[in-house]
Amino acid sequence: MKDIKLFRDMRKGWAILAIGLLLSLLAPLAWAQAAVAAPPLVMHKGDVAWMLTSTLLVLMMTVPGLALFYGGLLRSKNVLSMLMQVMTVFSMIVVLWVIYGYTLAFNGGNAFIGNFDKLFLKGITKDSLAATFSAGVGLPEYVFVMFQATFAGITCALIVGALAERVRFRAVLAFTALWFTFAYLPIAHMVWYGPSGFMFARGVLDFAGGTVVHINAGIAGLVGAYMLGPRLGLGRESMKPHSVTFTMIGASLLWVGWFGFNAGSNLEANGGAGLAFINTMVATAAAVLSWLAVEAITKGKPSMVGGASGAVAGLVAITPACGTVGPMGAIAIGALASAACVWGVTGLKKILKADDALDVFGVHGVGGILGAILTGVFSAPILGGTGFGAGITTMAQQVGVQALGVGITLAWSGGVSLLAYFIVKQVFGLRVSAEAEREGLDISSHGESAYEA
């Protein structure tokens, strides 16, 4: 849904697409020519203010947000390894992003991947503007580059939750670099790069990244959990969270930061951002209540880990929908997805038999899939939504397209993950030694311990 080229270019782009995928390598050329005739973009300072804020909010979601949400759920001997992985993966992806990520995801190319024209951000200056969704409105391109960098960073960081307490540090970095290049960049291009992106062109609705971020990371985590095998002592030893307080802080910062993620994806500070904002708030609130209600009914006691998980489930599910559904639809999505995720981390988990340590698939995968499908439902004007994707007229059609998006993402990301884990396993090995795992990754991999009296 994101388009950093001019609106006019987009229509020209459509014509080119018609000629077919085989000719797609010529697209950049055509675009370059078209750019000459485009009307000048105007920058609004209010948009800049909001997008700078949104970008730092997504950083805050990652460090410290996600790191704490994950870290608190682990045993204290592994907490630093999680904080390290999240911070280092994010840092690495940011650097890769400005080198080749941005240009491959968001610049020209074909239906599946961009080109290399902006390698090292070539040609971008502080005066460059990127188009927003409103004709004639531009955002400093550096800001757009950074906003998108944080999305790539957090997506890669999400994966590590599934690998927790046993993965080698260098394996995480190597896998992430591969997966970013061959899974994240193409999927982001396919979904968000208009008009040529493969899924974008088919009308897939994904306002802020349900497929690109959550399903994508969820399946990569699940595959990793299978490849690594379960943690030593799983089911026998207690693996209680060492600090539910940290987990709650993390969930709260995810909630707060997610407004940058969702309302920021509007790229402008206007009523559209307001819609994404209210949907994000109410879906999350409903999801918290829903998870707690399910727990209270099925287990007798609502829990803080449940409330925190519910918040994240709701945030995941509303992500693709927040720009196109109404607040009451958002409440429904939050409540339904949260209940589905309770199943994701219990029933489904038992079926899958993978030690997805922090339920990356159970929450991000399940919540993401349900969110994507329900986006197709609740975007219907009759249910308070603002309408379907370009060229789509019925709810059934939209749901079908959404399911296609889900399917492509699961297959592509799953396949790339499998291969990438395999390569990394051959080169470095995926797991630490049993002794190192017993001792805890903090000391064995990083030479530190988190706490001391």
């Binding site: 006691k301 880990v305 981390v345 219990t346 988990k349 339920d359």
Partner: protein
């Protein structure tokens, strides 16, 4: 000299300490322990995982006392630590052969 080692409920610590000082026990050492016995634990739930916690938080008090203080001290503990419900804890008494005060090198009874 005797070592009285007793396991009590955490919130009883202050009462027991007072009771012991009352009868003349001049020092003691306390540690946080977890106990397993007749008192049943509880179940904790974290997402899909259910943990049965058999160990309950308890306080262990160790006090070395001259033999003549032993009975008074035992009584003091029994009075102050009892609630009557399962889990009140135990008292263990054993022999101590030698006591030294590090600061002065005082020995045995003088060291307490």
């Amino acid at each position: 000299m005797k070592l009285i080692s007793c396991i009590i409920r955490p919130y009883k610590l202050d009462e027991v300490r007072e009771a012991l000082t009352q009868v003349g026990v001049s020092g003691l050492t306390v540690s946080e322990v977890r106990g397993f016995g007749r008192q049943k634990g509880h179940t904790e739930l974290y997402r899909g995982a259910e943990y049965t916690v058999d160990f309950l938080p308890k306080i262990k008090i160790e006090a070395v006392v001259p033999a003549e203080l032993l009975d008074g001290a035992l009584d003091a503990i029994l009075q102050s630590a009892r609630t009557g419900s399962v889990g009140d804890g135990k008292i263990f008494v054993s022999a101590v052969e030698q006591v030294i005060r590090i600061r002065t090198g005082d020995l045995d009874a003088d060291a307490l």
